[in-house]
């Protein structure tokens, strides 16, 4: 007796995916094995480590604690969706690179999605808020010091990017000088 499959439509990183999955298929497994998006990692399957964290309609959730069928039609953002269209690193990713915020990289996708949402909701966190933002994710390699630094660096990079984008939009033909961008970022 083969198991019944349900059709699910997921909007992941701006693309539409249709999959036929059993009801018991965890979202983490559906993303990884049915959709081939292996950037989301599975560390514990009981919701504690946070490696599987993705954004569901923009909010961080543990994909190992969600059934794929339960989020039919909803939007999911995974780590793969944080990279810029042109393949360059987004501000949170770039901050991790600069601050050595990862070692083995296994927990990293969960941090990246969590922080992306965190900085969207609170673009200028205090040091305590930066620590609090990552307080639900486990890392065994880095000891967290550099991850906290990466949150703070990401905030700076994001503001610089926004300032640059805003200036381009506002000033039309005028291009922002390097100086302007640097000032916005400091």
């Amino acid at each position: 007796m083969t198991e019944e499959r349900h059709t699910v439509r997921l909007h992941v990183n701006g693309h539409v995916y249709d999959a036929a999955v059993p009801a018991r298929r965890l979202l983490s497994d559906a993303l990884r094995h049915d959709l081939g998006l292996t950037g989301t990692h599975v560390g514990c399957e009981h919701g504690v480590c946070g490696a599987c964290t993705v954004l569901l309609d923009g909010r961080p959730v543990r994909s190992c604690l969600i059934l794929a069928v339960s989020v039919d039609g909803q939007e999911v953002t995974t780590v793969e969706g944080l990279t810029n269209e042109d393949g360059s690193l987004g501000p949170v990713q770039q901050a991790f690179l600069e601050c050595h915020g990862l070692q083995c990289g296994f927990c990293t996708p969960g941090f990246l999605t969590t922080i992306t949402a965190g900085l969207r909701d609170n673009p200028t966190p205090t040091h305590e808020e930066a620590r609090d933002m990552i307080a639900g994710n486990l890392c065994r390699c880095t000891g967290y010091q550099n991850i906290v630094k990466a949150v703070e660096r990401a905030s700076v990079l994001q503001r610089a990017q926004r300032a640059k984008d805003a200036t381009v939009v506002e000033e039309g033909a005028h291009r922002p000088s390097r100086d302007q961008v640097t000032e916005a970022g400091t």
């Binding site: 950037g39 083995c104 296994f106 927990c107 990246l112 880095t142 000891g143």
Partner: protein, 792 residues
């Protein structure tokens, strides 16, 4: 070298493009395996009924021990005992699938292969096993009492007894002006990398070859084991270590049953097969470490100088001994730390319990040794009314006493001889960094506010870069790109970046043009593995040497092509040129073309090379003793380990009412010789300290008397979040370069975690005013210790 270069591997990790073992063959309809594990700690297997299993849709195979001999005769034998030792007279290893009995909760009994992991687990639920329960032996006390045995044929549950001595410690203690006795206890813990174990295998029937990926710390070890157990030639097996989500030691043991069963299934079923352990399995079927009970006798003089140190300890190695006695041997030898006791005796018994087996966990026995010695130092200071740093200083090996031979045999079978270090300088640094001299005033100030604080210190020495060897292969391609391979593996240490830095330096190429591969037996089949903080020293040195060889050939060919003397040449950014004459140049890609006399010009590079002519037309194109191609290969095989060292200090606050323990300041002074990438080293220290905080204050294995592991999940095994780790760690470096390798480097991987139990015990003791003899410690335990003090 010496630069905080950003890591190349981050480019894929940050984009979610890392390839960890469970990411392999994702598009491919691989089959998935699951393992039935014993729910009992000790039982005889009377019967296994798998008759219902194959009826389940999507199940392809189910095996027990009975099936193994037909699949491959060597599979029916126990797994290898990797590191034998003459004193390990009662070593035991498990079978890939349990034969007649199970000796720990979690032991593998049956193996199922199905369309996916969900179905495979459904299949496990259909297997019925009849057990005859036996009395489990749990804990060191029960094992020593030996009312029941783990293995019927191992008397007293003793696997091995090993004694080493330098001088006559017992006599020295008997004659010493002062003596003390300590009884100490360290509980079991485990590595818990965020990624568990996993293996994928593919059998190619056309080529008659097996390809396997394993989340391991030793590709060559796994390769050899697979070949032997599957009855294949070594040359028929390739093993690749993919990206690995942390190891911390637990992935050095091999072969795990699944590392053999998965390739076996791939060959038998003609399909790619994958096994990924889940977190619960990692707890109950992978490996633990740390548990020891120690009895110390020490004799000392009025200054606290160690006249005699006599240490006996009991090491709980669990149900089996695949990794031999490495952990307790390391405890025995690294216990000495930076000190020179006038005489030293250490004896241990490595004993069986019906629990998960014990193999190295970051530190690999050093934390236990450091605990024993540092608790002793604190006890001596307390007894004599002296400052804890003074008592240590008086016992230090002095900078002018290197090399210092302790008269013992280390874990690599070689003499325990320290090559370099400066312990007095480290002590000055750590005291300044943590504010040691200012602390008493601070403590008094806090006390006036009703707050309880304490300061602790712990020193350690770490033998790193143990042999037998590592090798490297450097290949400069006709494109000018440099491809480097070394056979050991990577679990997050940034090897691809760090090793590329070394090649860039030695060869004179741009860092971006160097690509490093680790852990692929197809690229470098001679290797040992990543453990014991050896990768930078071993592979770093080998890569440096191999790059040197490649450079020698580059210069020889370039000199010939440019018709100049080798000593007039320099290599900068991948271009060889005459010093002071930049137009007389040839790029490395062209040199590479010239190194391989070709009949056919395939591309522009090879066409361009025809403008040069090398070699004497009167002699063979490939000279005798030479080889075509621009490659360098070399191995580094040191005579002994090189000794890194460090000191940690911590200030803690303990809540008088709730006994909660808060870390106020954590300081580290660290000496790992010359640094290749300071950013990477600092990251290792951060991670080690965090793991140490976990191990000292939060993490332990909680077994009940029936051998059930009560906390086999992250809910109850408490790995710290950022909130439990101090905000900022003060770090200072000392660099005493190693005289044993060309770059002067020492290992850094384990340092952060070695003194943790010792330093926290020291600080909590200072805060509370009573002795701490057992670690880890939780607020609940501290509360009870306080109660028992009051009842004195």
């Amino acid at each position: 070298m010496g630069q905080p270069v950003q890591r190349v591997e981050d480019q894929r990790f940050l984009r979610g493009q890392g390839k960890y073992v469970d990411d392999i063959a994702v598009g491919e309809h691989a089959l998935h395996a699951a393992v039935l594990r014993s729910p009992h700690a000790h039982a005889r297997i009377l019967d296994i009924d798998v008759s219902d299993v194959l009826d389940l849709d999507g199940v392809h195979a189910v095996w027990t021990w009975d099936d193994l001999a037909d699949l491959s005769a060597p599979m029916a034998e126990p797994l290898p005992l990797l590191i034998p030792h003459p004193t390990l007279i009662n070593g035991r290893t498990q079978y890939a699938l349990a034969k007649d009995e199970v000796n720990y909760m979690g032991e593998a009994i049956a193996f199922v292969v199905a369309d996916d992991r969900y179905v495979a687990e459904d299949a496990l639920a259909r297997i019925r096993v009849d057990y005859e329960l036996l009395t489990p032996v749990v804990g060191i006390a029960a094992s020593r009492a030996a009312e029941h045995l783990v293995h019927e044929d191992v008397p007293g549950n003793v696997g091995a007894r090993l004694e080493q001595e330098n001088g006559d410690a017992r006599a020295a203690i008997a004659q010493a002006p002062h003596t003390l006795t300590l009884d100490l206890d360290i509980e079991r813990s485990s590595c818990q990398p965020m990624e568990g174990r996993g293996v994928v295998a593919r059998w190619d029937a056309d080529l008659n070859r097996l390809l396997a990926w394993s989340s391991t710390q030793t590709s060559t070890g796994v390769r050899a084991a697979i070949a032997v157990k599957l009855g294949l030639d070594l040359g028929q097996v390739d093993v690749i270590t993919p990206d690995v989500g942390g190891g911390f030691g637990v992935k050095i043991n091999h072969p795990w049953p699944e590392e053999l069963l998965v390739p076996l299934a791939a060959r038998a079923l003609g399909r790619t097969v994958k096994y990924t352990e889940d977190r619960r399995e990692h707890f109950i079927a992978t490996a633990h470490e740390r548990a020891q009970v120690q009895h110390i006798e020490v004799g000392f003089d009025d200054d606290g100088r160690l006249l005699g140190l006599n240490v006996e300890f009991w090491h709980d190695h669990g149900a089996y001994t695949p990794y031999g006695l490495i952990v307790p041997i390391i405890t025995s030898t690294q216990l000495l730390g930076p000190y020179k006791p006038q005489s030293y005796r250490v004896v241990f018994e490595s004993i069986y319990t019906n629990t998960v087996m014990v193999t190295p966990y970051r530190g690999a026995g050093r934390p236990q040794g450091c605990f024993a010695m540092e608790r002793t130092m604190d006890a001596i200071a307390q007894y004599l009314g002296k400052d804890r740093t003074e008592v240590r200083a008086v016992n230090f090996i002095q900078p002018d006493e290197f090399p210092y031979d302790h008269g013992l045999i280390f874990q690599d079978g070689r003499e325990l001889e320290y090559d370099s270090g400066d312990y007095p300088a480290s002590l000055e640094k750590i005291k300044a960094l943590v504010g040691w001299d200012e602390f008493p005033a601070y403590k008094a100030e806090m006390a006036a506010q009703g707050r309880q604080v304490g300061i602790g210190l712990a020193c350690y020495v770490e033998g790193t870069g143990v042999g037998p060897y590592e090798g490297a292969h450097v290949h400069i391609e006709t494109s000018g790109k440099v491809k480097v391979a070394t056979g050991l593996t990577t679990q997050g240490q940034g090897h691809a970046t760090v090793f590329a830095q070394l090649v860039a330096d030695e060869l004179g190429v741009r860092f971006e043009d160097v690509e490093v591969v680790t852990g692929d037996t197809r690229r470098m089949p001679y290797a040992v593995g990543t453990f014991a903080s050896r990768a930078a020293v071993m592979s770093g040195s080998a890569i440096h040497l191999a790059a040197k060889r490649a450079k020698e050939k580059v210069l020889r060919i370039a000199a010939d092509a440019l018709e100049v003397d080798e000593k007039d040449l320099q290599i900068v950014d991948g271009v060889v040129s005459v010093k002071g004459l930049p137009e007389a140049s040839i790029d490395l890609g062209t040199v590479s073309v010239l190194s391989n006399p070709l009949r056919y010009a395939f591309d522009e590079a090879s066409k361009a090379a025809t403008q040069f002519s090398v070699g004497d037309p009167g002699k063979p194109p490939v000279a005798e003793g030479d080889e075509p191609g621009l490659e360098g290969k070399d191995f580094y095989s040191p005579e002994r380990a090189t000794f890194a060292s460090g000191m940690h200090a911590v200030i803690v606050e303990t809540d008088p009412e709730t006994a909660e323990i808060t870390i106020l300041k954590y300081a580290v002074v660290h000496d790992c010789g010359n640094l290749i990438n300071p950013m990477v080293v600092e990251g290792q220290i951060h991670g080690g300290v965090a793991q140490g905080v976990g191990g000292a204050l939060y993490e332990r294995m909680a077994y009940d008397e029936s051998g059930q592991l009560l906390n086999a999940s992250f809910m109850d095994f408490l790995i710290p979040y950022v909130t439990e780790i101090p905000d900022g760690i003060a770090i200072d470096h000392l660099e005493t370069p190693s005289p044993l390798n060309p770059l002067g480097i020492k290992g850094a991987g384990e340092a952060g975690v070695i003194p943790s139990a010792a330093v926290f015990a020291s600080a909590i003791e200072d805060a509370e005013g009573f002795t701490i003899k057992a670690m880890p410690i939780s607020p609940s335990e501290l509360f009870h210790l306080r109660q028992s003090q009051e009842h004195r």
